[in-house]
Amino acid sequence: MNEEMRTEPEASSALLRRFYETARTIREFDDRMRRGLASGEFMMSYWPVEGQEAISTGVCAALEPDDRMVITYRCAADAIAKGVDLGELAGELLGKSTGTSGGRGGAMGISAPDIGLLATTGIVGAGAPIATGVALAARQLGSGRVTVVSFGDGATSIGAVHEAMNLASLWQLPLVFLCHNNLFGEGTPVAEYTRTERFSDRAAGYGMPGVTVDGTDPVAVHKAAKEAVARARRGGGPTFLEAIAFRLNGHYFGDPCTYVDAAKLEAARGNEPIAKLRNRLVSGGVTAADLDALDQRIADDVDRAVSSAVAADMPAPETLYAHVYGGTDRFGAVSEGKRIATSVSAGAESELSLAQAVNQALEQAMARDDRVVLLGEDIADPMGGLFTCTKGLSTRFGRDRVRATPIAEEAIVGCAIGAALDGLRPVAELMFVDFLGVCLDQLANHAAKLRFMTGGRVHVPITLRSVEGAHSGPQHSQALEAWLTHVPGLKVAVASTPRDAKGLLTTCIEDDDPCVFIEPMQLLLARTMRGLVPDGEIRIPLGLADVKRDGKDVTVVSWGAVVHAALQAAAEVASEGIEVEVVDLRSLVPLDLETVLASVGKTRCLVIAHSATTFSGFGAEIAALVSERCFGELKAPVSRVGAAFTPVPRAHSLVAAHSPGAPQIAAAVRQVCR
């Protein structure tokens, strides 16, 4: 053990006894899980915590009941120390309807917001950005709560943790980074994946205190945690707390542990926390009989909880679709039978650009609801965003609500998610949709799934605004909506006009599910492309397409900037006597299939046009749905117009060959109605 490691000799006997009870409960539960697995009583993935009990025990004893935690799939120690119901924990691990999340999340989806345990992640390090948001919500709402994010030593190598440490320190958030250093990153010893000798030394690089303690001593952990929690609560910012305790079992149940040095393991077993704590209590005057009776009561409690979980029902198959999206109805990707009209408040309209319309939607949402906060790169004044969509908002609402961030997309999206989990309605900006690759874990694995994997105990009302398209080369010009529509739990809207932008964005911000709102760059750059927008409120429901031009001969389904190319094509072929109906989907998920089918039912010819690659683009989904529903009515095969299956090139000559425009759409229209 490191000589600089803090140890703490004194603690009241009552506190020691409380530590013993918690740590012993964790040990008993972990042991019961491994026994049940080894004897074939139940089967599931499980990540043992034996040896790490004192870390969770000491830290959670330093928290108020209302303080927050974000933890990992090696969950049992943290969850039990925070106070989770043992039966609900066991039920979730076993995938039962009685679990914390109704069996939807397993070890990776433990959530009990009533005791402050907001979320668990199965992605190493991903909890840290989320925890920054939970801490931000505490700050913004003045709750006084402190957040602890727990992760293993292995997570110190992943970027998300570093982005989160930088952001938390920059904003002096009430957050504690708790590193359970169990000396192995899954199956690799620490010295084989880093040259850092003490992980807490890294804190200095982010301008925050770092401390390393003996993780087998709950008293030492508790003292360090109390200091960190107190600092966070008084506004002194985050702390990195590293607690070292040898992992006495495998990474997972069944792990052959071929990478563990037997002599070191034996030494660690001789230094394990519970026996040490028991000896300390006995030498302090507690009788062995007293502790034996406590052990027996704990064993009985754990066994009762696990037995009830074993006996409990699995969730019913017909509940599969519950908690993918909010609301009580089955509500999937297609908005069948759930059409709501657009609502517009009476009053004047003004001619605005797309950027002005976005700005107005944000401004009005912020004025209506204090919980709306903005996060993103360069979004504060004087810049007001790369495309000026947020201009003036930090001046009007302050930099607490319009937060310019570091260039750190995982931190931006993760922070938005965490803030949304605990009461805010964040709108995050991703400067270009191409940067989805940097933050897709947060969006697809967390924003989209947390409602489901917590059985609806939490939800993620975030809006992610982003820009797609135009001609800025291979990494700043893509149309990636198909990456998003493939993920259950996300909603995806694309605006083609200033009016739609205001109405759709307003709805996204007020929606209880994570929404991605895409602003086509061509329209942001074309300042001449203005349109009438209501000065007052406008809400366009997601899942309500708009017929931008009526026609009887061919349906062109499109969205975003390509809608304008479709309208040009329609005007062009009108002179040849072909009447094109242009359907602007406006939202891809939920999809207004009803309007598409109604139009195709009339024209019996369908062309789908979009900016993304034709191959595996979202048009393929529409073509398939229409073919399934009305193959017999089609006069010609469905035609798709999209980009070539190449990266977006820089040279204008290549762009012209790559991207679809009005001529290609017109040609496709002539082809299908020939």
């Binding site: 026994r35 697995l37 080894a38 004897s39 074939g40 089967m43 993935s45 069944g254 052959p256």
Partner: protein, 79 residues
Amino acid sequence: MTEVRIPKTGDAVEEGTLVEWLVEDGARVERGDPLYLLETDKVAMQIEAPSAGVVARIGVPGEIYPVGELVATITERPG
């Protein structure tokens, strides 16, 4: 009575070999005592007794059993 079944030691594991018994049939064990050696295509591990009592062996050494197969019972006897 506690049942001892072939465990699932990994998501893809469907069967395991009972390599060797580490207790005599009818012997008394304490919880955590070594019971038998299990081998799968992924791992070889010593399975411990999930409870205290008298072991009744069912499984045969060298045999391959599907996950969940009953290979022993442990019956607690008073005194």
